[in-house]
Subunit: 473 residues, 2 copies
């Protein structure tokens, strides 16, 4: 029977959750909060109907506006009949007594609120929508285009001007990049509305805006809202619906599969389709819930399934990014700096690109392991990070950042291969070879060589060798 898991400082308890099963994410949170009687410090992580149905795109929603998505972790909770995790922490951390702490805090604070981060304060991550569109690097209309005038309608600036209501922040962050807009839904012929607050970011806007050619920010938010109610990873779900739309255009599937008509730009159909995908209402949506690639294997249309291991992220920057997403870790586009390398480097030096991916990963795994914000990676230089660790008493870590991060990196790959990951077998769908970016038409030969060499590099990754290399250099 369904359960919820309650954790506080002293005990862990499983409680029956039969009454919660079947509820959407907001309903589940609301009922749990009622049970709690208004204790706002409680944190809730839960799944929606998608996770209950073992949808491979199901996410875990934590803190209402944030999804632990990508990779289907919501279905892991679903498979265990675990609807929600409620954490009631009531301890506090003591601030170190040394004078170094306040001065270091101020240094980090000043750098965090400096010029570079404030674009996330102002417009938020969707600041990238207009930039990528301008650069011909935004995946649009199931990656049939990389730039489109219509995308001006869903730029970050447009969202901030038209739909933004308020901002949020992860605990204590002065940047506050979480942008929350509002959605109205008419539920009667006479003008009666319900309204909800919905958070937005670059990736959701890419996935159900750009990829579906929906050009109105309120409509984009409305589709995101349904995805989040269902507990779906909106990136995977949006890309899946983009594939389904092109498959409809190419008459591989029809309304007998999709139930509602799917057509680029038609947000009404997408709202219904998102609901169907979350609820798994027919065989088609249940197959699509296994992933776009699975659906393409079943119905055809693999060439334009925009899947790089999992459904693509919102960056069509070029060969290095595609190779790294296809073979690398893919929790987020931020897991590897490939998207950034493409934008900065025009040479086609394979060795240099692969080396950059491997080295860049080293910094990112360290920050990720510390639950630090990757947007702030420019602030947390090795030196500053070491000072921060030292001031809270982690002297060993502070003195051995490089070997610690290489060890993490090594363990990641080792574990991945041990659990069956075979990068040699992966192929990149044809669509990715067809695009044109700011760098010109995609270079297929370069992409293929990168794939081969990156594959070798991660297969042969050895922390100890790299350590001696670093010491030698």
């Amino acid at each position: 029977a369904p359960v919820s898991l309650w954790i506080d400082d002293d005990e862990i308890e499983l409680r029956p959750a039969t009454g919660l099963w079947g509820g959407t994410v907001p309903e589940t949170e609301k009922r749990l909060r009622e049970e709690l009687g208004g204790d706002e410090l409680v944190q809730i992580a839960c799944i929606g109907p998608a996770g209950e149905r073992l949808n491979k795109m199901a996410c875990i929603t934590a803190g209402h506006y944030r999804e632990f998505g990508r990779g289907g972790c919501g279905s892991v909770m679903g498979s265990k009949n675990l609807k929600a995790i409620v954490i009631e922490g009531d301890s506090s951390f003591k601030i170190p007594e040394s004078k170094d702490y306040p001065s270091l805090f101020e240094e980090v604070y000043t750098k965090l609120t400096g010029k570079d981060m404030m674009k996330y304060h102002d417009i938020g991550t969707p600041i990238n929508m207009a930039v990528l569109n301008e650069l011909m690097m935004l995946p649009i209309r199931n990656l049939q285009r990389t730039t489109d005038q219509g995308m001006a309608g869903i730029s970050g600036e447009k969202f901030a001007d038209d739909v933004l209501l308020r901002n949020g922040a992860c605990a204590g962050c002065p940047v506050g990049c979480i942008h929350i807009g509002f959605v109205r839904e008419r539920f009667q012929k006479e003008h009666r509305y319900i309204y909800r607050q919905v958070s937005y970011d670059h990736e959701p806007i890419f996935a159900v805006g750009a990829m579906l050619s929906v050009e109105n920010p309120f409509e984009v938010l409305a589709i995101i809202d349904i995805s989040e109610k269902m507990g779906l990873d909106v990136m995977s779900a949006g890309v899946a619906l983009a594939w389904a739309t092109e498959a409809t255009e190419k008459r591989i599937i029809s309304k007998s599969e999709t139930v509602v008509p799917l057509s680029f730009g038609d947000s009404e159909g997408y709202k219904q389709a998102m609901l169907n995908l979350g609820m798994g209402t027919n065989e088609f949506y249940r197959i699509l819930a296994q992933g776009t690639l699975k659906a393409a294997e079943h119905y055809g249309g693999q060439d334009y399934a925009c899947v790089l291991g999992q459904e693509m992220a919102g960056y069509a920057t070029g060969e290095v990014y595609f190779a790294s997403q296809a073979l690398g870790f893919r929790h987020s586009h931020l897991d590897s700096g490939g998207y950034s390398y493409d934008q900065k480097e025009t040479s086609k030096d394979v060795a240099k690109a692969v080396d950059s991916l491997i080295k860049d990963e080293q910094d990112r795994v360290l920050l990720t392991s510390m639950v630090a914000c990757l947007f702030a990676r420019g602030v947390y230089t090795d030196e500053l990070l070491a000072s921060c660790l030292k001031v809270v008493g982690y002297d060993y870590l502070a003195g051995n950042l490089e070997s610690v991060s290489l060890n993490i990196q090594g363990l990641r790959w080792k574990n991945r291969f041990a659990t069956g990951f075979a990068p040699e077998k992966l192929s990149i769908p044809k669509r990715f070879y067809e695009i044109t970016t700011a760098k010109g038409p995609l270079d297929g030969a370069f992409l293929d060589t990168l794939k081969t060499e990156y594959c070798k590099a991660i297969r042969g990754f050895d922390p100890d060798t790299r350590k001696s290399e670093d010491q030698a250099s």
Copy 2:
């Protein structure tokens, strides 16, 4: 020292309210609710900065979204240093045990939710904006026009489609005509907003939309919001700013008086001006706070001061309405059926028009005395009203509706004359003579005769004579 008045079933108490003095209406309500600890059944009536400053346009705000405006009652509270009245009722009424009550209730309910009332359920009172504009009967740009294409931007339908969030209702009403939209206000260069819910109706939209030529619903709501924070009657305040704008155009006043530039259609200026009017920031705004006519006496521009006793309501229907508003009771345009007579009757029969005003008033004073909704006057026929009164035990009232209402009507006029009202002395400003409506150019001679005859009719009003007339007919 400032006080608040607390009333519950058993006691009445004056409490110090020094800390509340100076607060806007929403601030005052919020602090009182905090003091109450969340008892939602409490009702609060309070004044804002305008009432404290004895602004003649100050209203009393009750239940956050409803203003007891027109006539400056807010300044009466202000003059007594009374910031708020808090009513904590906790008794209930017993429903009569007879079977007639439920069946009568159902009859009233069915009629109330019938076709005629549902326009107020759907679009609300602003349903009239488009109708009046179509008919050339909407006062626009300080009554320089009675129709204007731009008004399509602030029709009731446009508000319902674009800004409506939710609906409210007076206690127990199934129609729910209260329409509440939302306003966002950017308070930082970076996109940071505060947002509030603001109710809207025909008259506020007329006053700060049509009269000021502001054609965007979000901007109209933002100006209403400031008026309500200040505790100003938005109708009086809007018409006053419309006069000030025309006076600016005609160079009677300048920026040295208005501080902010006033220009038709420029909502930014109007937001600042509304704040200045509420706060009485300089001599000009303090004089304007005595009423538009007072300001026109001081600065000139009487011809286009749109004042009929008090600042006009949102109906430019013609001669009968203008005569009745100028001389009659003016709490609301609904206090007399003149606006409706103009729309139905094209003849220029003075006796017929005056008789209609007097007779129509008879029905309205009865409903008003019962705190019934005047929108529902078509539902509450004399027969149905008598049945309603009977079923709750008011047999005498039920059997004597006509003489009771004539008595109320007689007492109203008697009291008004006794307290100094001299209708003979009132003149109607030139602007009202200059308009064209669906009935053609305004007929000045007809208006003047109506004024003379209506004056005679109310001066000579005698309930006893009318009773015998009614019995004779």
